[in-house]
Structure formats: C-alpha cells, structure tokens
Amino acid sequence: MTVPGRSSHRSRSRISLAFLLVPPLAWLVIAYLGSLAVLLVSAFWSTDAFTGAVVRTYTSDNVTRVLTEAVFRTATLRTIGVALAVTAICIVLAVPLALYMAKVASPRVRLALVVAVTTPLWASYLVKAYAWRMLLSPQGPLTWAAGHTPGYGLIATVLTLAYLWLPYMVIPVFAAFERVPNTLIDASSDLGAPDLTTMRTVMAPLVFPGIAAGSIFTFSLSMGDYIAVTIVGGKTQMLGNIIYGQLVTANNQPLAAALSLIPLAAIVGYLLAMRRTGALENV
C-alpha cells in the first residue's frame, strides 16, 4: 500500500517532467524522425512516367535499382572516397595546428588562431566555393603562382571540401588537446620519454576521441555535399548530384528517397564505428 500523499507528489513531479520534455521530444519525433519515416516510406512508392506525379502504391523497384545499378554503385564509392579523403586531409592539417594552438602558442596567439580558424565560417558557402573556382581556373592565381592547376574535377572537389570543413575538425581536436593536463606531459618527459613517445603513448589516446568527433562532421558533411562539386567538380557527379537529379530533373521522388538511404546508411555505419572509440561522448 502506498501513502496517498507520496503518490500525488510523484504524479505531480511526473507531470512537470512531461511538461518539460514534451516540446523537445515532439520536435524530435515529428520534425526529425517523422521526416525520416516519410522518406523511408516514399522510397517504396512509384511515379507516373509522364507527369512525374507520385503514385502511392507499394513497389520495391526503387530499392532494387539502387542496389543493383552500376551508376549508383560507382557514385557511392566515389562519394565515400571523397568523404574519406577530405577527412584524412582535415586530420593531417588540424592535428598539428590544434596541438600548437593548445599547448605551444601564447594566450594571445591562441585567441588569434581560434578567431582565424572560425572566421571563414561566417562567409557564405557559395562565396568560398566560387573563390576556389577562381583559384583553380586555368588562368587563375594558382597557375600564375605555381605554373600548374589540378583543374576542375575530383581533386578540386576534395581540396575545396577539405577547406570548407576544416574548422569543424580543428575545433574538437583543439578542445581535446586542451583537456590533456600539462602535468601528464611533464610526468612523461620526467620519466625520460622522448617527445614523440609522449605524443604517441600519452597524447594520442587522449586526443583520438576529439579527432573521431571532428571526422564525423567532415565525413557526413562531405557525404551530403552536392553544391561544391557542381562548382569545382567539372563533370564529376557525386551521390548528392544523382539524388538531386532524380528529385528535380527526373521528378522521381521515390527513387531519390531510395537513393538517400545510401548516405544515411553510410553515416549511421560511420557513427556506429566511431561509437566504439568513445568519440560520441565528446561531440
């Protein structure tokens, strides 16, 4: 038998908890999971061949096509390759920079660097992408300075995306380095470990979750990008362009929905892989 007073107290706190949680949960379920569910369901619809209007009868053709057609496979591999290359470049650039910012630079230089890293985020995405288009053009500054330009294509796409997403890598890695106590580094060198060993055995394990967290941003942002590639990618098409083409050009919403399941699966897969590293606790 429960005491009546306690029970009413409990239900009151439950009501207030529900009051607090309902708005964000409703947002999550309706706007976020709801749209995903609609996407998932519409992948199994078909379209009227002539007008492109969606016909709501069940068919698994779209998913079958996505899984079997060569063009989708090549584009998927290309896109994952680009996303991995962008992530790798961002890691190579961000780790030394973040290390310097967190452990070497004076507070004033550190502040200046943090500002320098984050200011590009204020500029419009398109402006930055078009700046790279200018930079890489056959008669552009790069040709003038280096005598060579990779031209528009896959390399240009990787370079541009690496530039665009670099801040998303630098910030978490910087935060991770900052969290490494200096005492640990001192202890390591007091015990006679050379700098490289300290980095490998003390810093790397502590910073790795930060790198993994940053890579989630760079990987998923690159997976979904389809604008930079139309500006600097020449004739290259990525998965995003194919989805856009099926949605806008072909007006085939169901096939586009089925295609969107690929990046969704890739990103979920990547997140699961990262979860094992403990990186998700640092995002």
Binding site: G34, V38, R133, Y152
Partner: protein, 397 residues
C-alpha cells in the same frame, strides 16, 4: 522489458499515424495522359493584383539589372501596377518543379515542359480573347501539340529559336559547321568541350546521328526506341571523355568561356550576347548544317495563380509588338508576334531568324517531352523521359 516493448509500440504507432497523415491521398494530378484535369480559363479580366510572380528563362524578363539598357519589366510595372518578381529557371525540369509548388503565377515554358504541366494540372487553360495581341501571333504557333489540348490553348506563344554551336575563335581556328565538332571532333580540344547538363541534350546527339548514321533510322530526336537511345548514349559517353564541364546555369557557361575552361559547345544566343558584351574572349556562334534542337516557348498561367489578372496583363504585354521585338532581339530568337518585325532595331532581324518562315520553323527539332507513345506518332515503343534521365546519369558516370 514489457514497458520497453509498449513504449516502442506507442512510438511506432505515432510514426505510422504521422506517415498516414502526411500521405493522405492528394493525388489529383493526372494519373494518365488521356485528358488533362478540368480547369476553367479566366472569363473576364479584372484589375491587377499588384504583384506577379514569374518563372522565366534567363533573358525573358529583364529589369535592367543585367544591362541598364535592357529593361521591359519596369515599364510593365509602371503601366499596370503589377510588381514583378522573377525566378530564373535554368532547365525545363527545374521550371516544372517550381510550378508544382503553386507559388508562381506563370511560366515561360518550353515544349518539353508544357505537356507535363498541362497534364499534371499545374497550368490553366487560357482565354485568348483576353489577350488582344494573340490575334497577330504567327499562325503556325497556335493550337500546336505542345501548347494546346483538343483546340484549347494553354498559353500564349512567346518565341522560338535554335540551340547554337558556340566556340572560342582564338582556340578553335577552323570555323566548325557541324555538330561533329563536339562529337567525333571533340578530341581536338579534349577537356575543353561543354554540353548542356540536362537529359534533353540526348536529343542533340540523336539529331546528329539521324544525319550521320541513317541506318539507325532516327526520324525525330525525341522519339527514340531503346536501341536508338543506346546509340545516342554511346555517342555521349565518348563525348564525356572530352568534356571539361557541363553547364545548366547560364552564368556558369559565361564564366567557363571567359576563364578558358570551355572553348566549344552547345549554347544559347543570350550567352553569346553576354560574352560579347563582356568582351573578355572572342566567340562566334553557328547553326550547324545538321540543323539543331531548339525551343518554342509559351507563357502559361498557373492553375493556382494568386495574381491571374496581372499574369494576363503580362502575357498581353510581352507579346505586344514592341516588347516582343525587344525580348526576341535580346534573347536571340524569332518573335512569336508577327508585328514585332516592324519594331526590331535591326531591320533584317526577322529575316535572319526566319521569324515568319513556317518551313524553316519546321526544320528545328523543338524540345518535347519524350514519351512511351512516340511523339511523332510512329508507334508506342519509344523511350520515356524517365529513361532519358537514367541514361543521362549513366553517361555522366
């Protein structure tokens, strides 16, 4: 455990309810192509609503922002009080998509968009009696298969023209006279060829094949059997190796020619005009000997237009002799309005563009939506536009 299952059940039920709510049958837009949805044309013209939202091809609704001398939107606004907002459409597919939102009053639709719009119920029939300038529009543009259904006009013809072969005269020394320059001849300027980034470009390859490989039996570049479509795709895959980049945004085409990224490829007269005005590179255009694909554009009224009176006023204004002449000269196309020929600044303009020459007009292969039912009436074994889109994505790889 039991509560978890129950919670999951509740969550799933909520999702299912949501999906059901979002997918309630609003499927009115034409399930088949036998008859367009019924719509009533406007019966009488009222006062303007003060606003007009248009989807237009670049160069069709100029307000002086590209070139201060090129402006026919502002005079219209002053005459009618309809403030014009223009959304540029870069491809017919984009236009169809924009019109489907129902947020626009009208569109300058090409023949590969018109029927899709009509049968999906996105545009309304037009009462041509309310458009006085319609009377003097070239007769061979009236009641055509791409702008009318069963004798009911669905728009007011605007103008027509051909896609051109454009090249940088400093790089391409021997003036080309054939589309072969971008197909087998493309190897000479490898990596600097451009092409229009839309599945409808497959028709350009088909047109070239119809002249160079008669054994394929291509009569109409929009009525292709599977084998003919494959042959065109083969040609375009070979071309893909020589392409630097494709264009669909016309400003990107201008920029690509100016930076030297592209030196030869299919183009519009309006792009050539902008390049000539900028004067950074020397270019020339030619209508190749094989003929060309082209467009015949029609102003259409949205079935959900919020400002139908302003749209009717616009359709009458844009096809009035003086304005139609201005647009046609700027865009580089034949005006639909026969009287426009008296007002062009170049007196030979209409002769150059064969504006009133019905036979010439018939030689251009106007953009049309490919359908299973062959568009030239030769049978029902043709490839539909959706197959063209898939082919186009495969060509680009």
């Amino acid at each position: 455990m039991r509560t978890t299952t129950r919670r999951l059940g509740v969550a799933l039920a909520a999702c299912a309810a949501l999906v059901a709510a979002c997918s309630s049958p609003t499927n009115s837009g034409g399930a088949n192509s036998s008859a367009p949805p019924k719509g009533e044309p406007l019966s009488a013209l009222g006062d303007g609503e003060g606003q007009l939202n248009l989807v237009a091809w670049p160069g069709y609704a100029e307000d002086g922002s590209n070139d201060p001398k090129v402006d026919w939107v502002q005079p219209f606004e002053q005459q009618t009080g309809c403030k014009v907002n223009v959304k540029i459409g870069n491809t017919s597919d984009e236009m169809v998509q924009l019109m489907r939102t129902g947020q626009f009053d009208g569109v300058s639709a090409s023949g590969d968009a018109t029927l899709r719009l009509i049968y999906a119920g996105d545009v309304a029939p037009v009462n041509t009696k309310l458009v006085p300038n319609y009377d003097t529009i070239s007769s061979f543009l009236k009641d055509q298969p791409w702008n009318s259904v069963a004798g009911q006009m669905f728009g007011i013809p605007h103008g027509w023209g051909a896609n051109l072969l454009m090249y940088n005269t400093d790089v391409v020394k021997n003036a080309p006279d054939s589309w072969g320059a971008v197909f087998p001849g493309a190897t000479e300027v490898k990596g600097k060829v451009t092409a229009y980034d839309s599945p409808i470009y497959i028709a350009d390859a088909a047109l070239y094949l119809s002249k160079t490989k008669p054994e394929l039996g291509i009569k109409n570049p929009y009525a292709l059997t599977s084998e003919q479509l494959d042959a065109a795709a083969e040609l375009l895959k070979a071309q893909h190796g020589n392409i630097g980049e494709y264009w669909s945004d016309y400003t990107k085409a201008v920029q690509a020619f100016e930076s030297g990224t592209s030196v030869i490829g299919t183009s519009w007269q309006v792009i050539a005009n902008m390049l000539t005005a900028d004067n950074k590179v020397k270019i020339a255009t030619v209508l190749p000997k094989e003929g060309s694909t082209g467009w015949s554009d029609t102003w259409m009224v949205s079935s959900k237009a919020a400002h139908p009176n302003c749209m009717y006023k616009w359709m009458d204004y844009i096809t009035s002799p003086q304005v139609n002449a201005q647009v046609a000269e700027y865009f580089g196309e034949a005006p639909a309005q026969t009287k426009a020929c008296e007002f062009t600044s170049d007196k030979n303009f209409c002769a150059t563009f064969h504006a009133t020459d019905e036979d010439y007009a018939k030689r251009i292969s106007y953009w049309t939506t490919p359908q299973k039912q062959c568009v030239d009436g030769s049978g029902d074994n043709c490839t539909a536009y959706s197959e063209w889109v898939d082919k186009w994505q495969q060509i680009k790889g």
